[in-house]
C-alpha cells in the first residue's frame, strides 16, 4: 500500500483523548496536501513520466503559439527585402519639398527606410540620351538588396553605371563625360549595376553631386514601411496629411504579393500548430489516464476507509491540477527556449518570448489534466472497492 501512509510512527500508546487532541491540532488541509505530496514522491517514476508528458505538451504548445505570433513579424521583415512598398512622388513630376525626407522619417520612425531619387536626362559625348539619377547610396544599398553592385561609390564623381548604360557610355569602364543643359560633368564608373529592370539603363550619382550639377531636387522617395497591411495603410494616411503636395502610392505589386504569401503561410502554420498541439494533448491524456488508472488501489483504499466521493474526486482533481500547473510552468519556459532556437536557426533572429500566451498554456494544461483524471475516476466509481483490492 504505497499510495497512502499513516501519519508517522508512535512510540507510546495514546489515549483516545490524546489522539483526538492531536487530530484537532493538525489542520485538516495538511493531511490532504501530505497525501498529494506522498503520492507524487512514492510513485515518482509514474509521476515523473506523467509530468514529462505534461511538460512536453506545454512546451510544444508554447513554442507553437510563440512561433505563430512571431513568425509573421519575422516573415514581414523578410518581405521588406523586396524593397519599397510605398512611393512618394511630387504631383505632376514636381520636385518634393526639401524637408520631405526628414518629415517622412520623423513620422514613420527610425526603422523605416526612405530613399530619395531625382531624375534628369543627360547627353553623352556622342549625343545619346541617358537617364541620370541622384540618390543616397547608403540608403539605396539598404533598401535594394537585390542590386548587384561590386563596389558602391565612395569617392567624389564616382557613379554606378547600369549594365546597358555602361555599354553606351563606358564600354571599357573608362571615365566618361555627361552634359546636362550645357553643363558638363566628368564621372568615373565605380561599378556596374545589374537589376534586370529599368535601373540597368540608368546612371546613378550621389544626390549632392547630382544636385550641384543639374539643380534638380528629388522628385521621388521610395519608402519601405514596416508592419502589417493595416499599419502600412495608416502610414500612408499619415504621409498624405503630412505631404499635401505629393502623391503617396502604395506599390501594389509588393503589397499584394506579400499579403498573398503571408496569408498562405499563416494558414499552414495555424493548421500545423493545431495538429501538433492536439497530438501533444493526446499524449498527456494517454499518460495521465494510465497514471490514474494505475492508482485504483489508492482509490479503493480511500473509499474503503470511508472517504466521501467528493473528497476522492477533489484529491485526484487537485493532483491533476497541480501536475498541470507545474507542467505548464516548466513547459512554458522550455517552449520559449525552443521557439527562440527555431527563430535563431531559421530566421537568424530569436523569437521574442511572449508571456501573454502563458495563461492559455496554463488553462489548457490544467484542463487536459483534469479531463484525464476525471475520465478514469468515472470508470472506477462504478466498481466496488473490494473488487479492486482483491486485485481483479
Amino acid at each position: 500500500m504505497t499510495g497512502i501512509t499513516t501519519s508517522g510512527t508512535t512510540d507510546t500508546l495514546l489515549t483516545p483523548k490524546q489522539v483526538a487532541a492531536r487530530r484537532a491540532s493538525a489542520p485538516h488541509t495538511s493531511m490532504f496536501t501530505r497525501m498529494l505530496v506522498r503520492a507524487a514522491v512514492l510513485r515518482r517514476r509514474r509521476a515523473s513520466s506523467a509530468l514529462l508528458a505534461m511538460v512536453v505538451a506545454a512546451a510544444v504548445a508554447t513554442a507553437m503559439m510563440n512561433l505563430y505570433v512571431d513568425v509573421q513579424a519575422k516573415l514581414r521583415s523578410e518581405f521588406r527585402n523586396y524593397g519599397a512598398n510605398v512611393v512618394v512622388v511630387g504631383k505632376d513630376g514636381q520636385a518634393l519639398p526639401a524637408d520631405a525626407l526628414a518629415k517622412i522619417e520623423s513620422v514613420l520612425g527610425d526603422k523605416t527606410l526612405a530613399v530619395p531619387f531625382s531624375y534628369a536626362v543627360a547627353r553623352t559625348k556622342d549625343g545619346q540620351s541617358v537617364v541620370v539619377v541622384g540618390t543616397d547610396f547608403a540608403r539605396a544599398r539598404q533598401l535594394n538588396h537585390w542590386w548587384k553592385v561590386s563596389h558602391w561609390p565612395d569617392a567624389p564623381n564616382e557613379a554606378l553605371v547600369g549594365m546597358r548604360a555602361a555599354a553606351v557610355v563606358s564600354p571599357n569602364r573608362q571615365p566618361f563625360e555627361l552634359t546636362f543643359q550645357g553643363k558638363a560633368i566628368d564621372l568615373v564608373p565605380a561599378s556596374m549595376l545589374q537589376t534586370g529592370a529599368g535601373e540597368d539603363s540608368r546612371i546613378y550619382l550621389d544626390q549632392s553631386e547630382f544636385q550641384s550639377w543639374t539643380g534638380v531636387a528629388p522628385s521621388t522617395i521610395e519608402v519601405a514601411a514596416n508592419g502589417t497591411a493595416a499599419q502600412v495603410d495608416a502610414s500612408i494616411r499619415q504621409l498624405v496629411q503630412l505631404l499635401p503636395s505629393a502623391d503617396i502610392r502604395p506599390v501594389r505589386q509588393i503589397m499584394e504579393g506579400e499579403a498573398n504569401v503571408l496569408n498562405k503561410t499563416r494558414a499552414t502554420l495555424y493548421a500545423s500548430a493545431t495538429l501538433v498541439v492536439l497530438t501533444s494533448a493526446l499524449c498527456v491524456l494517454a499518460t495521465l489516464i494510465g497514471w490514474v488508472f494505475d492508482r485504483r488501489r489508492d482509490f479503493a483504499i480511500m473509499k474503503a476507509l470511508g472517504a466521501s466521493e467528493r473528497l476522492i474526486n477533489g484529491f485526484f482533481a487537485a493532483e491533476a491540477a497541480a501536475l498541470g500547473v507545474v507542467g505548464a510552468i516548466l513547459g512554458f519556459f522550455i517552449g520559449i527556449g525552443v521557439a527562440a532556437w527555431i527563430g535563431r536557426v531559421n530566421f537568424h533572429a530569436p523569437v521574442v518570448p511572449r508571456f501573454s500566451v502563458f495563461p492559455y498554456v496554463l488553462a489548457g494544461s490544467v484542463a487536459v489534466a483534469l479531463i484525464s483524471a476525471i475520465l478514469p475516476i468515472e470508470l472506477l466509481r462504478r466498481v466496488q472497492p473490494a473488487i479492486i483490492l482483491r486485485g481483479e
Binding site: 512536453v56 505589386q253 497530438t279
Partner: protein
C-alpha cells in the same frame, strides 16, 4: 499457441487495444499530414510567390538605351530593336516549359491623346491571349504575370460592365490617374493618333501603368505601324533558389556540370534557354523578384521542416505513452504467464507481436487519415492538391512500427522484470 494468445488478447481486451490503436492512428495521421505538407510547401509557396509577377525579362539583344522617367518613355517610338511576336509561342518549347507559368509581351508606344500636346504611353500587351505551340493551345498574358493589375469602373470595385478588353478588340484600358486627368469613364471613347478607341475599364496597378493606356498588343502594333513588333517580354517562371552552381557562367563549365546546370530550373538557366529559343534576344532575371524568392522560400520551408520535427516528436511521444500505459496495465497477466513457465523472451515476443500488429493496423489507418488531412489542408489553404508520394507509405509504416516498438520497449522490460509473485498478489 502463440498466435492464439495474440488473437485472444485482441479479442478479450478490445477496449484497451482500441485505445492504443487510436493513439497510433492519430499519431501516424498527424505525422503523415505534416510530412506531406512540409515536402510540398516549397512548391506551393513558390507558386504563391509568383503573385509578385514576372521574374524574367526578354529584350532584343541590340537594343538601344531606354530613356524613361516616371513611366514616360522619351525614346523615339520606332527607335531601337524589337522582338518578333511570332517567336513567342516557342517559349513553350523550352526545356523547362512546365515551370513557365506565363508570359506577357510589352510594346510601349508614345502617342498623343486628342489634340493635347502631352505625350502619353500606350502599352500594348496580351491580356488573356490564346496561343498555339505545336498541337497545344495555351493562354497567357498579364492575367497571369501581373496578378495585381485590377480593372474596375474607376471606383476600385470589380463589376461586370467594366472588364478586360478582348485581345483582338480595339478596346483599351485607361490607367486610373490618366483617367482622372482626362475625366474619362468606361464606355466613352478616347482619340489616340486619330483612332477612336473605346475604354472598357479603368486599370489600377500602383505602378507606372496608372498613367498609361493599356491596349491589346495588335492594336499597339497597328498604331506604331510595326506589325509583329514586341519591345520586351515578361516571363513568370517557377525557379529553384540560387546556389553555388546557379551563379556560374555556363561557358566555363565542364559538360557534366553544364548538363546539371541546364537541367536545373535556376532562373539563370531558364534565362539561357529563353535566349536559345527567341532569336536575337537577351534574357535577364528581374533581380528584385528573382533574388528575394529564394530567401522567403527557404525561410518558410525551414520553418515547416522544424514544425514537422516537432509534430513527429509529439506523435512519437503520444504513441509511446499510449503503448507504455497499455502494457503497464497488464502486469498481472505477465505474472501469470511467468508463473506458468513462460520465459522473458516469449513474454516479450508476445508484446512485440501485439505492438507490431497494432502499429501496422494503426499505421495503415493513420496513413489514409493523414493523406485525407493533407488533401484538406491543400484544398482549403492553397486551392490545390497536396500530393502524397507513394514512397512515403512504407516509410511511414516503418516509422510507426519503430516508434511503437520504441515506446513499448521500456514498458515491456519493466513488465517482464516484475516479480510474478507481487504481480499475482496484486501489488505494485
Amino acid at each position: 499457441m502463440f498466435p492464439r494468445i495474440v488473437y485472444e488478447s485482441f479479442r478479450r481486451q478490445a477496449r484497451r487495444k482500441l485505445l492504443a490503436g487510436i493513439a497510433i492512428t492519430l499519431g501516424v495521421a498527424v505525422a503523415t499530414a505534416m510530412i506531406a505538407v512540409a515536402t510540398d510547401i516549397g512548391d506551393k509557396i513558390n507558386r504563391e510567390l509568383r503573385s509578385y509577377g514576372a521574374n524574367l525579362v526578354v529584350t532584343p539583344q541590340e537594343d538601344t538605351l531606354d530613356v524613361e522617367v516616371g513611366g514616360v518613355n522619351l525614346k523615339p517610338p520606332s527607335d531601337g530593336a524589337f522582338l518578333n511576336e511570332a517567336d513567342l509561342p516557342k517559349i513553350r518549347g523550352t526545356f523547362w516549359h512546365h515551370n513557365i507559368i506565363g508570359f506577357s509581351p510589352m510594346l510601349p508606344v508614345t502617342v498623343k491623346i486628342g489634340s493635347s500636346a502631352k505625350d502619353v504611353t500606350l502599352l500594348g500587351t496580351y491580356f488573356d491571349k490564346t496561343l498555339r505551340f505545336g498541337k497545344e493551345d495555351f493562354t497567357t498574358g498579364v492575367h497571369i504575370t501581373h496578378p495585381w493589375w485590377k480593372v474596375s469602373c474607376g471606383d476600385g470595385k470589380e463589376s461586370a460592365t467594366c472588364a478586360w478588353p478582348a485581345d483582338d478588340s480595339q478596346n483599351v484600358l485607361l490607367g486610373e490617374r490618366l483617367a482622372a486627368q482626362l475625366g474619362k469613364r468606361p464606355g466613352e471613347t478616347v482619340e489616340v493618333s486619330g483612332r477612336q478607341l473605346t475604354i472598357s475599364g479603368i486599370l489600377s496597378t500602383g505602378g507606372a501603368e496608372d498613367d498609361q493606356i493599356v491596349a491589346p498588343l495588335a492594336l499597339a502594333q497597328q498604331i506604331l505601324g510595326k506589325p509583329g513588333a514586341v519591345r520586351r517580354v515578361y516571363v513568370s517562371a517557377l525557379t529553384k533558389p540560387p546556389d553555388a552552381l546557379s551563379a556560374r557562367d555556363p561557358k566555363t563549365m565542364t559538360p557534366e556540370v553544364y548538363d546539371r546546370w541546364y537541367c536545373s530550373p535556376y532562373v539563370e538557366s531558364i534565362a539561357y534557354q529563353l535566349q536559345e529559343v527567341i532569336p536575337h534576344s537577351h534574357a535577364e532575371q528581374i533581380r528584385q523578384v528573382a533574388q528575394n524568392e529564394g530567401t522567403v522560400l527557404s525561410r518558410i520551408k525551414g520553418l515547416m521542416l522544424l514544425i514537422t520535427f516537432a509534430a513527429l516528436f509529439a506523435s512519437a511521444l503520444a504513441v509511446s505513452a499510449a503503448m507504455a500505459t497499455a502494457i503497464y496495465e497488464r502486469r498481472v497477466e505477465v505474472g501469470l504467464m511467468k508463473a506458468l513457465g513462460a520465459g522473458n523472451l516469449s513474454v516479450s515476443a508476445l508484446f512485440f507481436a501485439e505492438a507490431l500488429l497494432l502499429a501496422l493496423v494503426g499505421g495503415i489507418a493513420g496513413f489514409s487519415a493523414g493523406a485525407l488531412l493533407a488533401h484538406q489542408i491543400g484544398r482549403s489553404i492553397f486551392n490545390s492538391q497536396i500530393s502524397i508520394e507513394p514512397v512515403l507509405f512504407p516509410i511511414i509504416l516503418a516509422l510507426a512500427v519503430f516508434v511503437t516498438f520504441g515506446g513499448s520497449a521500456a514498458a515491456i522490460r519493466r513488465a517482464v522484470k516484475f516479480d510474478p509473485v507481487f504481480a499475482l498478489r496484486g501489488e505494485g
